[in-house]
Amino acid sequence: MNEQAFYTKDLSVYYGEKQAVKKISMDFPDRQVVALIGPSGCGKSTFLRSLNRMNDLIAGCRIEGEVWIGGQNICDPATDVVSLRQKIGMVWQRPNPFHKSIYENIAFGPRYHGIRGRKELDRIVEDCLRKTALWDEVKDRLDQSGLALSGGQQQRLCIARSLAVKPRILLMDEPASALDPVSTAKIEELIGELKKEYSIVIVTHNMQQAARISDRTAFFFLGDLVEYDDTQKMFTNPSRKSTDDYLSGRFG
């Protein structure tokens, strides 16, 4: 198994009185894909969002426990959230490019973090677009709006945008659920490429997608982590009956 990239310890998330995530301790291996699965409302997206403090923006949300990334507990209130989110990129369900050109969508982050030189920005833009297999499709129209791209291209642009600030970890919340099968296949292939350099955590409702692209799978239910194991084991011979029942469509 790869070295650990980061881990959580007894991580709980509350929305007011309701505990949405219950004392979850999980290791995330370096440069592997971890899929979080479970029925709607099981806490997997809440858990994902707490890995880069996105829940801070939700009123009444409270976090207990620890998330250790690179020797730092990011739940510590002293954490610089901006620099944290530089290390941990996030990709959402619906592609959300900025209302800017393709070029500016990618250059925005590095520029925000202080990179000003045009050559350096050009290099980053090309590099990120190549990594997401978009370069050949858009290199002649970098000044066009990102919103002019197809849905699948927009999502790859968002992934490219998140890579531009050199993260170590990518969090993806159902990144292909709004896309057609061909675009979905491209995103899945891209995830397979990206894991050579990044640790990836993906929330998905598509069981076959989790089976295809992840190295490890975690099954969440009612805020608990029911089972977490190698994906092949989870999908052929899970240890818990409730995992088997969920994967087989008996509930959820």
Binding site: F235, T236, N237, P238, S248, R250
Partner: protein
């Protein structure tokens, strides 16, 4: 649950077809042995004639298994259930062929009188028939203990087969005139011994279905 209805119906059909194959194989072995003991060639021909039907059921199981995999994307125990059904049907199909091989020996011996009454072969066949029935029952009931019993029964069949071969060698050495018939009876022993091995494979498949690991019961 409504969303799984078609899938559950498909899985039930797989099970029914396997049970039917098991019953047919058990009857084929019983018939072939009857034919051998009574040297009844017409009964042996019936056994040979019945084999294509068994093969057809195996094909139907393969088609349904493929369809369920393609349309339902089974995982976990559902997936193991389908993989196991395909494996068991292939074991049963081979057991059917081996029963036919026993029947064909009767046809090759047609018109002859057996040089000795059969003792070990009927015993081997009786244990093997029980194994066929119990292996299928262990599958239907997901009974791991019964699946493991196949290994013990198989040891008994193997011991009888060794005994049979030893006896045949001695008899052939004593009386070269019986070599042709003794060879064929030795083959029958081999066919039945193989049938028991396939029943043991079914036991292994049942353990895999229920607990997810693959034991070697054929040691």
């Amino acid at each position: 649950m409504v969303t799984r209805r078609d899938f559950d119906i498909g899985l039930e059909q797989l099970q029914k077809m396997l049970v039917e194959m098991g019953e047919r194989v058990e009857r084929a072995l019983a018939g072939a042995m009857d034919a051998l003991e009574s040297m009844n060639a017409s009964e042996a021909r019936e056994i040979v004639k019945g084999d294509p039907e068994l093969n057809q059921i195996e094909e139907r199981i393969a088609d349904l298994g493929a369809k369920l995999i393609a349309t339902q994307q089974p995982v976990a125990k559902d997936l193991r259930r389908i993989l196991v059904a395909l494996k068991i049907s292939s074991d049963l199909e081979r057991m059917g062929d081996l029963s036919v091989d026993v029947a064909k020996v009767v046809l090759r011996l047609e018109g002859q009188t057996l040089f000795k009454p059969l003792l070990d072969l009927p015993r081997m066949a009786a244990i093997s028939r029980t194994m066929i029935v119990e292996s299928i029952r262990s599958y239907v009931d997901e009974n791991v203990d019964l699946a493991y019993k196949m290994a013990k029964d198989d040891d008994q069949v193997d011991a009888l087969y060794s005994q049979l071969m030893h006896e045949m060698f001695l008899l052939m050495a004593e009386n070269p005139k019986i070599v042709g018939q003794a060879m064929l009876l030795s083959f029958v022993g081999r066919y039945i011994e193989r049938i028991a091995d396939h029943a043991t494979n079914i036991g292994e498949s049942v353990v895999f279905l229920v607990v997810g690991n693959r034991p070697d019961l054929n040691q």
